[in-house]
Symmetry: C2
Subunit: 300 residues, 2 copies
Amino acid sequence: LKKGDILYQSEFISVDPYMRIYTKDMTPPYKMIGQQVAKVVESKDPDFPVGTRILAHVGWAEKGIINDKKKARVQKAPTDLGGMSPSHLLGACGMPGNTAYFGLLDICSAKKGEVVLVNGAAGAVGSIVGQIAKIKGCKVIGYAGTEDKVKWLKEELKFDYVFNYKTTKIEDTLDEAAPGGVDCFFDNVGGHDANVVISRMKHRGRIAICGAISSYNVKDLVWSAPALQPLLLGKELRIEGFIVSRFQDRWMEGINQLVEWVKEGKLVIRDTVVDGFEKVPEAFMSLLQGGNTGKMVVKV
Amino acid sequence: LKKGDILYQSEFISVDPYMRIYTKDMTPPYKMIGQQVAKVVESKDPDFPVGTRILAHVGWAEKGIINDKKKARVQKAPTDLGGMSPSHLLGACGMPGNTAYFGLLDICSAKKGEVVLVNGAAGAVGSIVGQIAKIKGCKVIGYAGTEDKVKWLKEELKFDYVFNYKTTKIEDTLDEAAPGGVDCFFDNVGGHDANVVISRMKHRGRIAICGAISSYNVKDLVWSAPALQPLLLGKELRIEGFIVSRFQDRWMEGINQLVEWVKEGKLVIRDTVVDGFEKVPEAFMSLLQGGNTGKMVVKV
């Protein structure tokens, strides 16, 4: 180590759907991107003594030396987690949590009494979206891909309606759960079903495009759909794509609120922890197939 | 006439593309909707003496009795038009003008130095959109369907780039006029070319869906296009459909500003006046084929 260096050892490595977008057109070999929770195990930087827990963006790596802390976006992790696993700093109380928080409250402007629909509802973002919507007094409709997830969302997260999108027809579920239409659609998935939801929005409904996971593994995507423009016009709908980094200036507002809700027991958090650094690729592939409930992380 | 009634005689009747949407699925015979400038020719309402010029929404009618002024949305026309034809109260200084004003400044949030693209650029709304964008210091790209319109937009309205969409390829025009992308797209037309523009937006670009005239005469529209969602996500774009009536509370802010700009010579206004009440249907059909430059009205 040179002066100012730290040697980190990863504790939890994050795998996230967005990684697929960034790496889709890259030719291997390349180093995978991403965030981790890590501990400083050797240090030549007095501000980061051995034992300091950090958050960093150095990709899929078990350990390594960081010299440029700005480039690696190194932050000290909060020391008082009140018993919460530090893995949640990558999930409900980290980037996915903030994505849910700002996406629902700012991009969708969800308000008390409104109908909020979220797909990928058992995922790291979706499971928080639905719960924040409940905290705010909305009616929540969720979609997930296994019966276990559906059960979890209904019974533990108290969503009002939950459907298994693999065994139901989207039109039927909307007839049942949202006969009057949808105010806010938090779209993590895209594809056919998403377009049907857009056709069932209420006047001046808001649609946040947070992800389009149904398209990430499609090569040369030409995913044809009835054009949305006439529909947007008549109902004065607003659709907005967003990436949570635009809320960087308000980052801690989101995190602090999420942590507060966890402490108050208003937010149920859960992650799917895969054990062993060598399992990172497997975990990532599983994530894209819906193998997770809540945030998926790899314990190193 | 009963107490409170007025008998109006229309001076100018408005024909607008939106009428096609509302009447598309109606079975004749029905009375066409719309606004006119009219004069009170007989009156049993002391607030509206004979000779009063009014704006009303009583559809395609030469003359008639109004009893419910609220239902007919009757307003007194401004008395000092400074030499401007009252027909412009249906155009640049009326609903289409406000559509341009609020659509560009509120829905698109156009800012100085940005690239603004408008189609249907020689129409009642488009011709004002481009000029307000110039007033605000934007670079303006317009599309119209005849050489005369292109010339007018370039030479008199001072648009930076104008293309005849019938004789050019949208991709080529964008390569030339907006190689770095488009910040604000004011879409009056929809269809294939609009989707290409959306694929050429800058990061966090804004798209106002004001009209979709290319679709109004298509029956059972299934206008298929590559799905927009993945594109919206990556560039964090915002698309919003809007109808100008949502700005009702700020209506006079728009009108007063438009009138001010006309007086200052900053806004060139023009309408296409068709003569004779019996020509209203013909004028309307011509409008949908691009037969107008600026607002189309019928002089009764």
